[in-house]
Symmetry: C2
Subunit: 220 residues, 2 copies
Amino acid sequence: MASNKISDAVIRRLPGYYRYLYGLEEQGVERISSQELGQRMGLTASQIRQDINCFGALGQQGYGYNVSELRQYIAGVLGLDRRYRVVIVGAGNIGRAVAAYPSFQKRGMDVVALFDVDPELVGQTLPNGAPILHAQGLKEYLGAHSCRVGIVATPGQVAQEAANMLVEGGVRAIWNFAPVDLKVPSHVVVNNVHLTDSLYVLLYKLKEKDLELGVVEEGE
Amino acid sequence: MASNKISDAVIRRLPGYYRYLYGLEEQGVERISSQELGQRMGLTASQIRQDINCFGALGQQGYGYNVSELRQYIAGVLGLDRRYRVVIVGAGNIGRAVAAYPSFQKRGMDVVALFDVDPELVGQTLPNGAPILHAQGLKEYLGAHSCRVGIVATPGQVAQEAANMLVEGGVRAIWNFAPVDLKVPSHVVVNNVHLTDSLYVLLYKLKEKDLELGVVEEGE
């Protein structure tokens, strides 16, 4: 399987491919041409072919792609063909929303525990069976139950501290929902979720649509 | 102010510019060169200059950019210089997390009400004062309180129905957290949040790092 040297732009498109192919597979679609896939994803057919060549997967000329094979191939490129044990630091709305996200488990993510300092939350158990434990016990927990993935869903002020505990406990990948840039050693990877970014794009689209339609927005 | 004809790639980078400039302004930084800004954002200096030319804002050669002016300029391009009244359909973990997101209000988003069908949630009031109302009353509410932005935070099966009610109530922009592609008329804009996309990128980075370090992952 091709691995290294996929450009960042292609990497950012990979999840979209996975998502669309997953949806097609669920609908029972067996084959798809680069034209059709491009139309659904808002890309050109030649872009689709280039990207898929980049991943190292090849379609058969004139026959399109086998949806299920391509989906599984991309799952392999993304590392979605394994299971990951996951701890979440911060059991507020975001932490619990992530823990309850139905497609997580399907995608190989097993949330084993959440950690918080709020006495009202500590001691609860989520519907999926994951306990909310006191954050003091995080390092010890990770010593006993190795987890490769940690999620930071704390307020910004304590996010770095949470990340430090995860790193000390052996976590290798941090999915960060706090609005701060985390510092981690080079053997650990981080990806930040900037929820507001997609809101800003929405507001930009609204402004452009207003211009197109000649809508004069009242100051609400 | 320049408006149309900004490419999609540049539009997707705009929120990042806004975020970094906002952070710099909070740290009291007054001027920044394209080199420095590029280093922080992981872009080249020439990319930064090109992008900023695209927005229609100009730095002074040799003096860099005035952080506060550029931040305000980009806020204008994004439409962040106004206030938006927002309703949220779905008052589960995601809906409440979004309503409670501290930077929302700062960015001009006033969440005025949430809507749900769960009798345990309907009648509650969030800490920011927004009530949770019954979803049956959504259209009537929007008739009395005009809102331009609606957030869909429902399960996938009822997301289209929620979107229809928002559109009928006059909402022009939908921020969609449900894992479905919503159909809306052409005068309405939609942006989808695909939370798992950023998780997939994280897992990809982890896999690449494992390869780099020669880590053989045990099947967890």
